[in-house]
Amino acid sequence: MKFVDEYRDPALAGQLLAEIRQTVTRPWVIMEICGGHTHAIMKNGLDQLLPAQLELVHGPGCPVCVTPVETIDRAVAIAARPEVIFTSFGDMLRVPGSASSLFMAKSTGADVRMVYSPLEAVALARQHPEREVVFFAVGFETTAPGNGMALLQAKREGLTNFSLLASHVLVPPAIRALLSSPTNRVQGYLAPGHVCTVMGWQEYESLAEEFRVPIVPTGFEPVDILAGLLMALRQLEAGRYVVENQYGRSVSREGNRAAQRVMAEVFTVRDRAWRGIGVLPASGLVIRDDLAGYDAERKFAVESIRVRESELCQSGSVLQGLIKPDGCPAFGRECTPEHPLGATMVSGEGACAAYYRYHRTSHA
């Protein structure tokens, strides 16, 4: 595949690794905040190939993992309504809420359907005017423009039976919270390449300056990640702290203006709870008041939800990079992908699931 295979070239990756080994002179801690990076690192075994001085910490960049239990409970409750066709990306279907997941809701009669694009959900609303089509709009800045476009399209077509259950989160406030934490150990960041494709990298410049951390928007193939790590490492070794763009073929400083305009038209920024972390200021997107008719949360009142979460689960510490997944006492014992205690074990992008899947040799 063009724009893929070149970035998986073992020879080039090997040379970048050699260069990383040559560059590092002392221990550094770099966080890849994006779950897509975590996944690629584990799948390719990059962490095994890096010099021991370079420690990678896996960040909370998995929208599935940080979606609050309450939101999943709300989704399950809305999906259970007989008039509703509940649509979702595949990711959210297995994630457990307090008592049920969307898959379990489906098995007890809810009409839950998987879609690839939010526009498929709009098409369902068009085909089924007698039903209420709800789309579970999760994701970071990468996904918000598509979900926003779906809402605007429903509005343009005059579809009153379409709504979003919106649970969008934003990356820069999470980085700010992590860097502000007294327990922070992270000295450099790989920034999420596809979030930056939409938002550009300018909003990371103040973070790099204020906290004196290199931030490198990075692509998702092995060569991209190694090149991104090398760029961050060079800055750390040289005492430089700026945003440097590894993913120039897709990311510009300004990002995608058209996408940003639609996000602003549909959503507004709010404080928001991240599962395992807590409420982060101005870190979420909710549907604007003038579009309240397309907001499933307002359209379908859900009676008081009582959230239950596992007491053993330490996914919060994992998401904050305070412990590695296998540092949790429940890892691989009480908590496995078959019986997950927390979302980091459910989502394929979750650090715990990625560890369990690719990295269990020492526990097996």
Binding site: K43, Y116, G139, T361
Partner: protein
């Protein structure tokens, strides 16, 4: 035979009173008899089946019998590269022959939803007829039931197959030994991605072709050059990863794979990347994985490559004494990762 398009046939659909399946078609009365005599027998008729007894009585020489049964509930019924009909034949033929057995006879049971158009059933039967001929087996007994609308999804087919295991052949998932080679007959993930890309809601405009095929000819070719195959399976649901994990667990050994050696068609890989799906976990319906002693591996691969269904046969790894119960893959970059059992169905993901 894999490019069969029943619509190209001059339609031999017998003129029936009804255009759709009625509950009465499963009642055991006149309509049932008519369905069998006009739709089923012309497709599969043979001396044994034509007797229409409640059981098939067939000759069977002494030796060991391989017996398997499998239900087919695929949605959609027709997918690129195949349909539920050839899948139901090939799947059972393959399960029989993975023991090294020569598949001989099949039984087929149909559960049909009331209201299914007869033309759909007819298309499926045409394709089954073709698959039966392709695999060189006979359907010798069968059953049809019609259930109320909503009680099943259009059409379910269960096929049961028997075959004869040749002398000296003893194939089992528990027989892997350190040093054995792991051979794969061709590209993985074709069938599962054909089904997934046909699915409503996933926006695909072009589709991947299923690999559904009967593997008994290929197996016969392998056994001709060496009966020493230790383990063999067709990696269907759960994909190659699941089959190899089952092997490793049964034999208490490790399996070390080379990522770069596992073939995936470019368009299948493209579809997997789009949906975030790992081809190692995706179903195949015309591929086999065999574990054989190192000294006969090259000979068996060569024999496989001489057969149309094994042209891309390749050694993808080997059995190791350590890493007991684990399947480990050496990545293209030289690192190692565990290839675990899948938890559930592979779901398209956006993150």
């Amino acid at each position: 035979m894999h490019n069969l398009n029943p619509e190209d046939f001059s339609c031999p659909l017998p003129i029936m009173e009804y255009e759709t399946i009625q509950l009465a078609h499963g009642s055991g009365g006149r309509l049932s008899a008519e369905l069998v005599s006009r739709l089923f027998l012309p497709r599969f008729g043979n001396e044994t089946l034509n007797r229409l007894e409640d059981q098939a009585v067939v000759d069977f020489s002494q030796g060991r019998l391989a017996l398997t049964t499998d239900s087919f509930v695929v949605d959609p019924l027709f997918f690129p590269g195949g349909d539920i009909g050839d899948l139901a034949i090939n799947g059972t033929v393959n399960d029989v022959c993975m023991s090294g057995a020569t598949p001989l006879y099949l039984a087929a049971a149909f559960i049909i939803e009331e209201g299914l158009p007869l033309s759909i059933l007819h298309r499926v039967l045409l394709s089954m007829e073709n698959a039966v001929k392709g695999a060189g087996v006979q359907i010798v007994t069968g059953d049809t039931k019609v259930v109320n609308r909503g009680c099943c999804d259009k059409l379910f087919i269960t096929t049961t197959g028997v075959g004869r295991v040749p002398e000296g052949v003893n194939i089992s998932a528990a027989k892997l030994e350190a040093g054995d080679k792991v051979i794969l007959s061709g590209t993985i993930a074709d069938h599962g991605m054909a089904i997934l890309t046909s699915r409503e809601g996933l926006s695909f405009a072009s589709r991947v072709q299923s690999d559904t095929a009967p593997l008994n000819g290929l197996v016969a070719e392998m056994l001709r050059v060496s009966p020493l195959i230790h383990a063999m399976r067709d990696p269907t649901r759960g994909g190659l990863a699941t089959t190899l994990n089952e092997f490793a667990a049964s034999s208490r050994v490790g399996i070390m794979l080379e990522e770069a050696a596992v073939p995936v068609r470019p368009e299948v890989r493209g579809a997997c990347e789009v949906l975030g799906i790992d081809p190692m976990y995706v179903a195949n319906e015309g591929k086999l994985v065999a574990v054989v002693p190192a000294q006969v591996a090259d000979k068996i691969v060569a024999a496989m490559r001489s057969h149309p269904l094994g042209r891309e046969a390749v050694i993808i790894g080997e059995v190791v004494a350590d890493k007991q119960g684990l399947v480990v893959m050496r990545t293209t970059l030289g690192a190692q990762r565990i290839v675990d059992m899948p938890v559930g169905e592979q779901l398209p993901r956006i993150c």
